[in-house]
Amino acid sequence: MVRPAARPGAHLALQSSTSPDAASPWLTRPASVRKPRCAARLTAGIWVLCSAVVFAAAPVPPAPPLSLRWLPPADGANAAVEVSGLGADELRRLSAANYDLPHWQQFFKVFAEPKGASAEGKLPPMIGAYRVVGAALRFEPQFPLHPGVTYRAVFSPGWTMDQTSASTPLTALFEVPAAARTATTRVSAIYPSGDVLPENLLKFYLHFSAPMRGGDIYRHIHLRDAQGREVAQPFLQIGEELWSPDMTRLTLLLDPGRIKRGLRLLEELGPALEAGGSYTLTIDRAWPDAAGIPLAADGTKTFRAAPADRTPLDPTRWAIRAPAGGSRDALAVAPGEALDRALALRLIRVFAAGGPEIEGDVELSANETMWKFVPDAAWRAGDYRLVVATTIEDLAGNNVGKPFDVDVFEKIDRRIPNESVAVPFSIR
């Protein structure tokens, strides 16, 4: 009757019982009351499946008993729940029916029943698709079932058939066990990697070893001073949260309103960082990864704040060390200060003079103060261009030719018109 679970080593337990629910097809009692008993002790980590069967009043000739059972996820398909024992006419009618979701839910509905929900008992049934498969009516949830949640299917025969047992609904429970909770995800890197950062630092990049859970993230991130006092609201808390698409990197912006400007202190909260101070950025281990498992350890970075950097970047003054022709040695560029890591990796490119872009691998080292480029093919002697997009930033958000803070009332027109700056160099 029950299809074996597809998972190796999984066990199923089943007991038939008459549902204790009688009168109403709209079941509103707590699950603990109506939960059918499971037959066997179940091994941790397996699908738990309980089912209920109702025997209709014996007609002549005897009809097969109606039953409601869960089909565990298998072969890439989500879990489903199906009603067996429906008559051929009934199945034909249901197969041809073009019901909308509310109509199906009048007699066959499935509830997700999370523990501790404040609206318990008032939660609507979940969405999914209803269809006749073989000799059964099946409900397929639209989304995969969630570990740790009990799902309750309720089928009210009376809505589809003229049977004396019409008012006796069938129920079947299904629970996906909570996943094993071995914490393995870590903060794998925090950039900038230097331990002396300008007091007008604009952002951190937090890298994680696995995808993380988004939403309500700022409570897991703390900035504390040397005395361990928490710096109040240092970050720009935006609901959109600046994640990389795979959610392994978070861009954490310091609130531009909390960045110290000149000698003037900001009102109320004051600046987040002040030159001379020592600070520790802490990522709480309580932060769950995308699988809902907390981090294996806190992530921390301690640094000292240096005076503000308000100088625009000028690639024409960067030190370029050209490798020898015929080699695949790295082209090394030293900007004289640390660059924003993500932008330095993406916005500095190498072109043959008047020719195509040179392909290769980029690496940043020495606390993002050294940019190196190893070409895929050996260097040919000749002239080249290092092309730097003007939107590249240093640690304080200064661009090429434009500081982060622009005093627009005097200098609104002070802009670099080009989108990039080309710096020539030669290889011999």
Binding site: V110, A112, P114, A117, S118, A119, K122, L123, P124, P125, M126, I127, G128, P141, F143, L145, H146, G148, V149, Y151, L202, P211, M212, R213, G214, G215, A232, L236, Q237, I238, G239, E240, E241, L242, W243, S244, D246, T251, L253, D255, P256, G257, R261, E267, E268, A290, A342, L343, R346, E359, D361, T391, E393, G397, F404, D405, V408, F409, I412, R415
Partner: protein, 373 residues
């Protein structure tokens, strides 16, 4: 959440017949099918039940004809859905901590509220649009077969894959912080996750094949004489003396005004900062409404609650050009609405009411209609 011009909806409703005729116009260029949303964030409504949904992962705006164009009758009770997050989670077969509600927008044609929801909080989260009907029922909006169109944002972050140590990646992404529909254009505020630059784009609707968006940098005077490129958090559009204006709220709550006509390709717009509403605070959402013949703004904030801002006198506000101590708004009124606690999402329901999503004392999120203050 963004309403745009309240009068637009009112006009559409008043001209009952024109709704049908307009409808053919707004679906021009749309195709029937399932819009492939990779994520869903800010929402806004255009005319005739056209829902604009911002998809940050695709760096695109979808326009979806909801077909929800009939005004719902008033329910016996004011709209209130308790624990709406738990109920949406139940619809989606999961738990409340596994969903995120990104935005709320009321369809002015029907007064049904739409919520953008992520089922899941990791990279595999599934975007879902949920409709909360005026009668208190919630349902998932089926996107299996709808008329829709899509426009990709110019400067979408696909410009270059970085190869570092033979690993190919491009983690750059553009976050869309707010959208609105105004005068036939979708206005999009965005922020990249690498370059620190706030941008506004105006995209003509119906969308053209080539995405003719424009990028505008906004400067505003705050934190002393200096300007920053702080991102626009939320904005509303309003009509002042026949001119369309955007009022943008930035982090640290400066309120900045500029004319919509200034949003031109590659223009550098210098916004006029007309108010500083306090430090250490981030605006969440903003609507504009009328009461007793006057325009008001309602702004929900992270730490300063809900503020009611009278627009009377706003036109006389001087450009703020010097450092502001605390708050500054000399020519118009700003009033804290103490009763509206915990508001996280906000939109205008009709002429007299707003819809909010707000956190109750037990931590659950309630969706409810509240009379406009």
């Amino acid at each position: 959440m963004k309403l745009t011009l309240p009068r637009l909806a009112a006009a559409s409703l008043a001209l009952g017949l024109s709704v049908l005729t307009t409808h053919a116009g707004v679906t021009a260029g749309m195709t029937e099918g399932a819009p492939a949303l990779k994520s869903v964030g800010p929402l806004a409504f255009g005319p005739d039940g056209i829902l604009f949904a911002a998809d940050t992962k695709s760096a695109a705006i979808f326009a979806i004809a909801t077909g929800d164009t009939k005004s719902a009758p008033n329910a016996a009770q004011p709209l209130k859905i308790e624990a709406v997050n738990e109920k949406i989670a139940a619809l989606l077969g999961t738990t409340a901590d596994q969903i995120l509600i990104a935005d709320l927008a009321v369809n002015p044609a029907s007064r049904n509220a739409y919520l953008s929801v992520s089922r899941g909080r990791g990279p595999d989260a599934v975007p879902v649009i949920v409709r909360a009907r005026l009668d208190g029922q919630i349902e998932v909006v089926s996107l299996a077969k709808v008329m829709f169109s899509k426009v990709e944002l110019p400067d979408a972050p696909v410009d270059r894959v970085v190869s570092q140590g033979k690993r190919q990646s491009n983690p750059r992404q553009l976050s869309i912080t707010d959208i609105a529909f105004l005068d036939g254009r979708v206005i999009v505020a965005g922020l990249a996750n690498e370059e620190f630059a706030s941008s506004l784009r105006a995209i003509t609707f119906p969308f053209k094949q080539a995405a003719g968006g424009t990028t505008v940098e906004i400067y505003h005077g705050a934190h002393g004489q200096f300007e920053t490129r702080a991102p626009v958090r939320t904005f509303v559009a309003r009509n002042v003396g026949g001119q369309s204006q955007l009022l943008a709220a930035y982090t640290c709550t400066p309120l900045v005004e500029f004319a919509l006509s200034e949003i031109q390709p590659d223009a550098k717009v210098k916004g006029k900062t007309i108010a500083e509403l306090g430090n250490g605070n981030t605006p969440l959402d903003m609507i504009v409404y009328q009461k007793n013949g006057k325009d008001f703004l309602l702004m929900a904030n992270t730490s300063r609650g809900v503020m009611k801002i009278g627009t009377d006198g706003m036109e006389r506000a001087q450009r703020i050009e010097s450092r502001v101590s605390g708050t500054k708004h000399e020519t118009f009124s700003v009033e804290a609405i103490a009763d509206w606690k915990g508001v996280e999402q906000l939109d205008r329901l009709d002429a007299a009411n707003a819809v909010v999503v707000r956190k109750a004392t037990n931590g659950a999120l309630n969706l409810e209609a509240l009379p406009l203050p």
